[in-house]
Structures are given as structure tokens and as C-alpha cells.
Symmetry: C2
Subunit: 235 residues, 2 copies
């Protein structure tokens, strides 16, 4: 595989993984913590399940649709900036040429080499604009198909992540029993997920696993405490 | 203000705004949708408030801690890559020099100018590594203070966003009345927030406002439907 193809492949594969990681991180944490919180306040597993499923649906749609709209915005933003750069290269070429020269000087080129390089880079307007987009504005052309794919992946990962902690309440008689099983299953999943997530991003995996489990435990503990407190006041 | 300071200022101001936007987007949507969903399934406003507060706490901690850990990981990742580049420049300078030359040729420089530029850029190892970090790896040095600041901003914005839809249930007698007021207040807030968010990012504000409100309405509608369905089966 030629190097640039290899790089493209690598980038697109990690885009999907990144979306799965985003969805799972929140899906394993927030519905787990909500269900744990309610377990400290209500007597019916049915209520915990109802609230948990409502949260999973709400979270999946908010994250999925949010991801989709953010992706679409990125595509629009790139198109707008591209049109602006094309116009600037046409209408104020001297200003734009000076920007290229400054950019090259900031990289560390001598004035003479920067001038020669500027001369070469600004011969072809297409190449000139491409250079400005990438090195002045730090924008890569987004793939328009990425947004719907991202949305679906994030939403599905959130739902899968959320159903794991909730499943415990299906098979237990009381919310308290559900919480014990849910906590055990979810902390185990968070440890495994944190381990592989850290491996993927080249971080030390054991501290990564512990951090992920600690985040879930902190969220669940705080939600339990608050629900218990509110319950004592209101119900 | 010198141009680079102006740019730094601009970047750091938009980092805070970005965090507020991230927190508010989810905070206005998910707790709203969860409360709406439960309104279709339970008879007690106290239960909706308990679940809503548990969700806000869980979501704030998950997002805030998640943001903090992601920021810390970014700092570690940058340090690891920096060390690796320094080592490579020392141990395989010819390979690294060829990478600089290829990068410059890909920008559109002639072989002669690319060779001269490579010669200049690789004189000082510090400047050489800086060039590789920015232009080969596309990494900017992250500010280590950014992670805790981000975490706090996102968590606070999520909590503020979540308390707006929930507040309606404090002042109404039944979940059904709460839902009406909550829906009205939240959709208005989503329209206003979507409008200004789009203005900030240079997108058309009216479609942006409508998209934001539609996301919230879709999440709430789906959560209501699912909670109603589950409720019919279980309770």
C-alpha cells in the first residue's frame, strides 16, 4: 500500500473507533449512574428500567444527532473558508502572498528561501489555496459521508453501553439487588473498555482502566447520594 | 496587540466558549428528554425531579471528568511524541531529513528549493523537532492548565443547561403540567442557544436555531414514547 493510502486507511479506521469510544464512554457511565441513583430512591425495578431506557433513547438521539449536525457544520465551514480563500487569492493576492511568506519564515526558513518558496507556491492558484487551507487555517477537507456514519456509530455505541448496566435490573427482584449486579458488571466493563481504549491511543493501559472505572464509580456514587437526598426531602 | 498574541487570545477565548457550547448542548437536551419521558410514565413530579437531578449529577461528572482525563491524555500524548521525535532526530537523522524534504515537496516546492529549505530547517534540532511536531504530526502543544478548566466549564454548563428544563417540575402540581412548561421553556432556550451558537461559529443562525430545537424535540419525543411503552408493559 502506498504511504498516503496507508495513512488514509489508518485515519478512517480510527475515526470509527473514536466514535465507538465516544459513545461507549458516556453510554457505560451516565445510564449506569442514573440507574444507580434511582436505586437509592425508589422501590420498583420497573421505574429504574423506565427511566434508564428513556435516558438511553434521549442520550443516543442527542449524541447521534449532535454528532451528525456537527459533522455537517464542519463540511459547510470548510466550503465557506475555501470560497473565501479563493476570493482572497483573486482580489488581494499581495496580502495573501505576504501571509505565505510569513508562514514559511515562521517555520524557520531564511528570507531568501522563503521568498523563492513563496514564488513557487503561488504560481498555481489551486495549489496556493490548498496551502493556505492546510497550513494557515489548519483545515483538512472533511468527508461529507462521515457525518451520518459518525452519528449512527455514536448513537449505537451509546445504546449498547447503556443497556449493559441496565440489564441487571431486568433479572433482579429489587432495585437494590439490581444495583449490586449492575455495579459489578459495569465496573468490570469499564475496566476492560478503559484498558483497550488506552491501548488504542498508546496510553498506559492499567492506569487508563482504573481512571475509566473511577469516573463511572464517581458519577454513580454522586447520583446515588443526590437521589437519596432529594428523595428524603420530596417523596 | 501583536498578531500572535491576538491569535492566542482568540483561541483561548473560543476554547472556553466551545466548552460552554458542549456542556449546554447536552445539558439542555438530555435531562429535558429524560424528564419528558418520565412525565409520560409516572404520576409524581417528585420522581421526575429525583431522576432529573440524578441525571444532571451523573452527566456533569461523566462529561467533566471525561473532559479532564481527555485533556490530560492529550498532554501526555504530546510529551510522548515530542520525546520520540527528539530521539529520531538524534538516531535516524537521514530518515527524518527525508521526511522534511517530502513534506516540503508535497506543499508544492521544487526539488531544489525543498532541498535548500530542508537544509535550513534541520540546522537546529529544536526547530527541526518543532517543525516535525506541527507539520508532520499536526500536533499543537496543549496547555496543561486547559484540562481542569475545561472539565469545570463543561460540567457547570451541563448542570445549568439541565436545571432549566427541570425547574418547571418544581413549580407545577403534576408531571403533565411540568412537561408543558418544561417543553415551552426548553424549546425557547434551545432556539436562542442554537441561534447564538451558530452566530459564534459563523453558520446561518436561523437554521442553526431550528436544528438545535429539533434535536431536543426529537430526543424528548422518543424518550416519551419509549417510557410510555415500557410503562405499559412493566408497571
Amino acid at each position: 500500500m502506498p504511504p498516503f493510502l496507508h495513512r488514509e486507511y489508518h485515519l478512517s479506521s480510527s475515526a470509527v473507533l473514536q466514535d465507538i469510544v465516544i459513545g461507549l464512554s458516556d453510554g457505560l457511565t451516565v445510564p449506569f449512574a442514573l440507574a444507580a441513583g434511582l436505586s437509592g430512591a425508589v422501590q420498583s425495578s420497573g421505574l429504574v428500567i423506565t427511566a434508564g431506557l428513556a435516558e438511553i433513547v434521549a442520550g443516543s438521539i442527542a449524541m447521534g444527532l449532535g454528532g451528525y449536525l456537527a459533522g455537517r457544520t464542519e463540511v459547510d465551514h470548510y466550503a465557506a473558508e475555501l470560497a473565501r480563500e479563493h476570493a482572497e487569492v483573486r482580489t488581494v493576492p499581495d496580502t495573501e502572498r505576504r501571509e505565505v511568506q510569513e508562514l514559511l519564515a515562521n517555520m524557520g526558513l531564511s528570507p531568501a528561501t522563503a521568498a523563492q518558496a513563496t514564488h513557487e507556491l503561488t504560481q498555481d492558484p489551486e495549489q496556493w489555496v490548498k496551502f493556505m487551507m492546510k497550513y494557515e487555517l489548519d483545515l483538512e477537507e472533511p468527508d461529507p459521508k462521515q457525518a451520518p456514519k459518525s452519528a449512527g456509530t455514536i448513537a449505537a455505541a451509546y445504546a449498547v453501553g447503556g443497556l449493559i448496566p441496565l440489564s441487571a435490573y431486568f433479572f433482579t427482584a429489587t432495585p437494590q439487588q439490581g444495583l449490586l449486579w449492575s455495579g459489578a458488571i459495569t465496573l468490570l466493563c469499564l475496566l476492560v473498555f478503559g484498558f483497550f481504549k488506552s491501548r488504542l491511543t498508546g496510553q498506559p493501559p492499567v492506569p487508563g482502566a482504573l481512571k475509566m472505572a473511577a469516573t463511572g464509580a464517581a458519577a454513580a456514587g454522586a447520583a446515588y447520594y443526590v437521589a437519596h437526598l432529594v428523595n428524603g426531602v420530596r417523596l
